[in-house]
């Protein structure tokens, strides 16, 4: 389980904002969720899309996303090992959120320009 910045989110109307943020604010989670929006990806496929991420950190973030029910992790019985990651049903409901974040960043953060992937 990842970071718990708040213990509870039932305190005031704005808490839902914090509740949602607590699920997606780990380093790399936002960009991972964004890439999974376009379909299934394997561990190394995700990794190659993220500059400078360490294996350790990517594994950790993926495990947290899985634990929070946002992604699914499918292990194949084969060698070399194969693990597929997808957005879960629940994760799919986050698409408007992720797109809102991306749109804002594209427009308002000068160094976050949208490049071809």
């Amino acid at each position: 389980m990842g970071r718990t910045r708040h213990d509870r989110f039932d305190c005031s109307p704005g808490c839902a904002v914090e509740a949602t943020l607590s699920l997606i604010d780990g380093k790399w989670k936002g960009v991972v969720l964004y890439h999974l929006m376009s379909g299934t990806l394997r561990f190394n496929e995700i990794r190659r899309k993220l500059p400078n991420v360490t294996q350790r950190m990517l594994t950790n973030q993926l495990r947290e996303l899985e634990a929070d029910g946002l992604i699914t992790r499918t292990v194949f019985a084969q060698v070399p090992p194969r693990v597929d990651y997808d957005l879960s049903e629940r994760g799919r409901t986050l698409e408007p959120v992720i797109l809102a974040l991306k749109n804002w960043g594209d427009v308002n953060m000068p160094s976050a320009g949208s490049f071809a992937a």
Copy 2:
């Protein structure tokens, strides 16, 4: 300046997501921005809307939000001291993001129900 989880956000299409998150992911920032959406608030007004926040932490988060250009801080020459906080023009452009986060939390996080403020 708050936490800098990434140094740069020009690496791939999903970076804009992380760029935006880096501005709003401090503890309390989401809920602060949400409450400022409905208008000017003074320090203690904000504080009273946030359960369990310490003065120290609230001041710190407000200063970061200000430094990132998301809110404005207006100091009045009076006693007792009066400081007003508002969303900046730039901060206002975040409203769709904050609302998307809140909507998702209201629907998907059982303990983040929407209470009357």
